[in-house]
Subunit: 391 residues, 2 copies
């Protein structure tokens, strides 16, 4: 016989999932109601309004996809890309590579604009790509690269797409709720995110929003979207304005309770206040890490406050440090990915987990574990440096 | 400002979601841990073992897809179907039509075997379809049609597929945990289900299992699966035996706590006992409905115990009855779908919701509402008929 599972209370400071607020967990566990219940339909309307607020958009087609961020990504590509299209894909980390896969599996050609892992997307290279490929109908890029902790200039990239008559597909999985994101102000066309980063909700849902231009392209498609589950024309029948709430699939009712509560919390705090909180805790963490003698992996002007890439000090055993943090301190930080595996750690300060207590706990635990491993760090200086940055 | 959402405590006796056990809701709300946490990886192994138990299979490739049943359906089709293939699709309700969509969006040809809504799949028609289309490489059908409440002979249909050298794709969304399902014994090749029916878990996850023959077909594919999110070769890198737990997407951690708990409960009860419980409560409900003078919509030998289609009595306002049940009794029953809209109700007795109390409550509430509407029913006889059937 299998026993029930009782997880420990971790502090999640990796690349996501991040710590979920007790308010959100409480909402998650409320009694399930039917997905066509009139009260649930009201909840859907509220979630749509709250997502429009979080994305800063009036886009009618704004809703949570009933699957993780990778499915939100796929929803954007399979609805907007048709076989034979050319799509410019910016790759400066893991997720650009995944976008390329999505383009190719949609029967289109991906033109890669590559930048080093740890660098933002180079606008000049994108300009050149549009010059070489004037037929490109979409520009796809990642706003906040979770694999490296780098922010790219989404506003400028969306403008470049528009200047070249292309739509923009923007990955905001890690940016939504953590740094400025202005879908309408920037003219982004298809934007997907995740619930498990700066919204501090449980993983499994992907908020998306499509501009009227994107919806027009979807409506003009000549061939059906290759995915039935992610076909926005069908999904709109359930989620759209004046929709008949036609049954498409059974909505993940309890996950949507949780998403609703996390968005209510964001509304209560305010977007600007949430961004400022992420920025403040980031500055304190960096001050502490640098006081310890560690080096950040990303140049200051491109850093994401919610995901801090820091270089491993010399001679340190990556896995042993992360295991000690997890097993002795119940503290999860992230390993480096891909080109940065074994070279960096990724320390998340996302959403609910972005608070002073976590900054202090992480610095003290990391210092203790590194000191025990004999790493060449400065001890005893991190907490006061962080505290100075808070005040 | 938006307020927090507090749903009422409904009794869910529609076509799903069904009532979720407090044990499962309790598991759902436990603290989130990372999707690569060693403890979570242990949980994944347990879930896999429990799903193998529930499906009665030793299939190595058995796992929960991180999205609802429709995505589980799509996972089966996009991984097994290639452009140019011929797939025989049995249609006797809503979900056969959805299978056809999946076949066509995979670039293949669907040969429809049609039966009336409310009837099971006719084996003879399937035999004829294989004779006319010896090139067919897959037979797809629905074991338990949620839109009509009909059970088809999955064992015989899987055998027909095998005799004709085809793989079988079987929709068990509503059957898993409610009626006999023997994946290995019947030789089913690709089987998908849902969490929100007889497992009484929250909606949003789709358990799937693939036979070694199906895995071989996946491994021999010449072109990549059109869906990146649902590509089983990639998913296997995270879920497979000896897998490196390679990051594919962020698992819906809390939903999987809930699925685990619901499967632990099924294991504690035992498969045969769960099926017997569904059968017993079904007999009592039918006895009560018939004592009231109502007529079941499906012939006795094809009825699903977990989903009871009953005809509306003459002159009754469908929507008004369901609204009264919902608003005055907090009781949800399902409307008819498609060809049966306005003609039947669908009364679910699924999983945790399949119990004596719900049978009694549903009969008494329905009788009260119908009597108030002046429907031509027998009053005062339903409860004793149900109680006699229980004993």
């Amino acid at each position: 016989m299998t026993s029930s599972f009782f997880p420990p209370q971790r502090t999640l400071m990796g690349p996501g999932p991040s710590d979920v607020s007790p308010r959100v967990l409480g909402a998650l566990a409320r009694p399930t109601i039917g997905h066509l219940d009139p009260l649930f339909v009201q909840l859907m309307d509220e979630i749509k309004g709250l997502l429009q607020f979080a994305f800063q958009t009036t886009n009618e087609l704004t809703l949570p996809i009933s699957a993780p961020g990778s499915a939100g990504m796929e929803a954007c590509f399979v609805n907007l890309v048709s076989p034979g299209d050319t799509v410019i894909v910016c790759q400066n980390g893991v997720f650009g590579g995944r976008m390329k896969e999505n383009v190719e599996r949609s029967g289109a050609t991906a033109i890669l604009v590559e930048d080093a892992w740890g660098e933002p997307v180079d606008l000049e290279k994108v300009r050149q790509a549009f010059k070489s490929h004037p037929e490109a109908s979409i520009l796809a890029f990642v706003h906040a690269e979770t694999s490296t902790g780098v922010r790219s200039d989404a506003e400028a990239l969306c403008a470049l797409a528009a200047e070249n008559g292309a739509l923009s597909i923007v990955d905001t999985v890690t940016s939504l709720g953590g740094i400025e994101l202005n879908v309408d102000g920037w003219g982004a066309d298809a934007v997907y995110s995740g619930t498990q980063k700066c919204l501090s909700c449980v993983p499994g849902i992907s908020p998306v929003t499509f501009s009227p231009r994107a919806v027009e392209r979807i409506n003009q498609r000549e061939r059906p979207v290759q995915s039935w589950f992610l076909d926005m024309q069908l999904v709109m029948g359930y989620w759209g304005a004046n929709a008949k709430r036609a049954y498409h699939h059974t909505a993940p009712v309890n996950d949507l309770y949780a998403l609703h509560e996390s968005l209510v919390m964001l509304e209560e705090e305010g977007l600007e206040a949430a961004w400022a909180r992420h920025a403040k805790n980031h500055r304190a963490l960096v001050a502490g890490l640098e006081a310890m003698g560690l080096t950040m992996a990303v140049a200051a002007e491109h850093r994401l406050p919610q995901l801090n890439s820091v270089k491993l000090p010399e001679g340190v055993d990556d896995a042993a440090v992360r295991s000690a943090l997890l097993n002795e301190f119940d503290l999860e930080i992230g390993a480096g990915l891909g080109a940065l595996a074994g070279k960096t750690w990724r320390i998340g300060l996302m959403g609910y987990a972005s608070n002073e207590r976590n900054v202090i706990r992480c610095l003290s635990a990391l210092e203790a574990v590194l000191a025990r491993q004999g790493a060449a760090i400065n001890t005893g200086a991190a907490l006061s440096a962080a505290e100075a940055a808070f005040s």
